[in-house]
Symmetry: C2
Subunit: 339 residues, 2 copies
């Protein structure tokens, strides 16, 4: 209703609008007396600066967009918290958007953010080679890909998913498993494909003795994992894998639920390893082994790269930062009795 503007403040304080603006932006160049008068007027009127007008005039904004694949997955929440922590130190606001694995939603969010002229966008893209990327960058919005391979058009931060898959695979092989299953999602998701490939490498390294299968759910969710778990539980015991590597912890939790529902014991009947090491993994029915990623660091680094690019666009060279995952062994992949 009663939104005051800089002009009303100026009138009340008996100064020009330029002076009010100065008080707001460079108070040190205004004489203490006037400054005081202006502050009083601001307080009396309940004036709140219109950031929209300011932004229009100065051309750059202090907010960055972060578009994640799935807010329901605590992994992304942690990435977001890392990003926000660093952004906060540079008083920059992070707005979190959820594409929920839907390319349409992803596109709409990106359009919105571009229209708002945000300072930059961090995104965990759904597809490995996002069709919108080139144009978006060409039109001038800095982009940092998170948890995704670089394309040379922008910076990126990622974790070596292939290595993560290998760690999990080597661990299972070493524990004596000879029938291993990979529980994944849509193969278009690069991370999943890489984790699978890493697992395959480790299995291959064991010689021909180990059999590897894969099963796919429509999404990397608890429900997806549960669905695959149901299918596995329905197999005759002899045909069942003895270990499952899930593409992420959400799936692993779902898978675990399905095992419990069918009275199968973990890890005795079937071992499980997840991915991400979200906080809930350790609190699961059977504490989950998982491949840990530096979640907050991923977010922090992404913001760091973005701020660097924004600060000196001409000097900036795009970089791709890759972190190493590590394996956290818990009860869900404890030693096999018969190993």
């Amino acid at each position: 209703m009663a939104t005051r503007n800089i002009k009303e403040v100026a009138q009340l304080a008996r100064v020009s609008v330029g002076t009010v603006s100065n008080v707001l932006n460079r108070p040190e160049i205004v004489s203490p007396a006037t400054r005081e008068r202006v502050f009083e007027a601001i307080k009396k009127l309940g004036f709140v600066r219109n950031e929209v007008a300011r932004h229009l005039r100065v051309g750059r904004s202090r907010t960055v967009g972060l578009v994640v694949l799935d807010v329901a997955n605590p992994f992304f929440v942690d990435v977001a918290q890392g990003a926000e922590a660093l952004a906060d130190e540079h008083d920059t606001m992070v707005v979190l958007c959820n594409s929920a694995g839907d390319p349409g939603r992803e596109r709409r969010h990106l359009d919105q953010l571009e229209q708002q002229r945000v300072m930059g966008i961090l995104v965990t893209p759904i597809e490995a080679e996002p069709p919108w990327l080139e144009e978006l960058v060409a039109r001038g919005t800095p982009v940092v890909l998170v948890d995704s391979p670089a394309t040379g058009l922008q910076c990126s931060v990622a974790v070596d998913d292939r290595l993560g898959g290998q760690l999990a695979g080597a661990h299972l092989v070493e524990r004596g498993h000879r029938r291993i299953m990979f529980a994944g999602g849509p193969p278009s998701v690069k991370q999943v494909a890489d984790r699978h490939a890493g697992l395959a490498t480790a299995v291959a390294a064991a010689g021909g003795a180990v059999e590897l299968r894969a099963s796919t759910a429509p999404a990397l969710t608890v429900a997806g994992g549960r669905a695959i778990g149901e299918r596995v539980a329905a197999l005759p015991p002899g045909a069942r894998p003895t270990a499952v590597f899930c593409a992420n912890d959400m799936m692993a939790l779902g898978f675990l639920q399905a095992m419990a529902a069918h009275g199968l014991r973990v890890p005795e009947d079937l071992a499980i390893i997840g991915y991400d090491d979200i906080d809930f993994a350790a609190a699961a029915a059977v504490p989950l082994s998982s491949v840990r990623q530096p979640r907050e660091l991923l977010g922090r680094t992404a913001i760091d790269l973005l701020l660097e690019e924004v600060a000196e666009p001409e000097r900036h060279r795009h970089r791709q930062v890759i972190f190493q995952p590590d394996l956290v062994v818990r009860e869900s992949s404890a030693p096999r009795r018969d190993g």
Copy 2:
């Protein structure tokens, strides 16, 4: 870099800026031929409408801010998803902000949102009677309090926490528990106080036979629950409560971890009930009994109230919507042997 504006489009299409604007906003009033020319120019230049300028001119924005207490708590994520789902249907954008239980952060986020002139703000306030509320509303930003009592200044949506506490309490009493503990957080948080009060009511209704204690953690987090759990585990068996009602599921999960770490069995040695019924509750080491709240519905309703207020500010009457929680009994509060 190369951000084009409406004027450049107008030049290329050989029309006035007014016409370009019309093509963008009311294409039906523009003749098909010109419309086509304008679209071509837009595409050729890679023009993206500047939402900031548009917003400045038309005065109202299509985004609402949602400030939550703790994004790491899936409860709030679900509320946010509910809000976003409905907002989406009215092509409105929701920006999610995390106060993380810190009044300073909460204040900064609110200031930011107000400066951005968002359409309205949904907030789960930290304090029961937020000091900023009155002024914020007076200056003209519609606010809906989520999961918090109404003050008459704005709409609110909440769940009857007292009833939730009663349900949990009655259940525990009925199962034969005679030494019950409430594991809560800072008492300034209204929700926690209400759940506690509800529990107390149920205990009182049982006559003098039941003893009720309370323990407090600095925050309603997994770590907070674990800390209380450690304290309880350290008590001599005879002094230990036989059941614990945790202020939320995060705490309950932490508490459960502490029990496991000390070899105490749930529910045999100690029963646990949580609050919120987040998805992870069912997947816990011992599936958690919990008081379920209609999470998505809470978010949807909040957006609904806000949109209603924005649509007809004069006709609008503030309302407070209150939902009923219900109890979900799982293994963590299974019948006592000696009950």
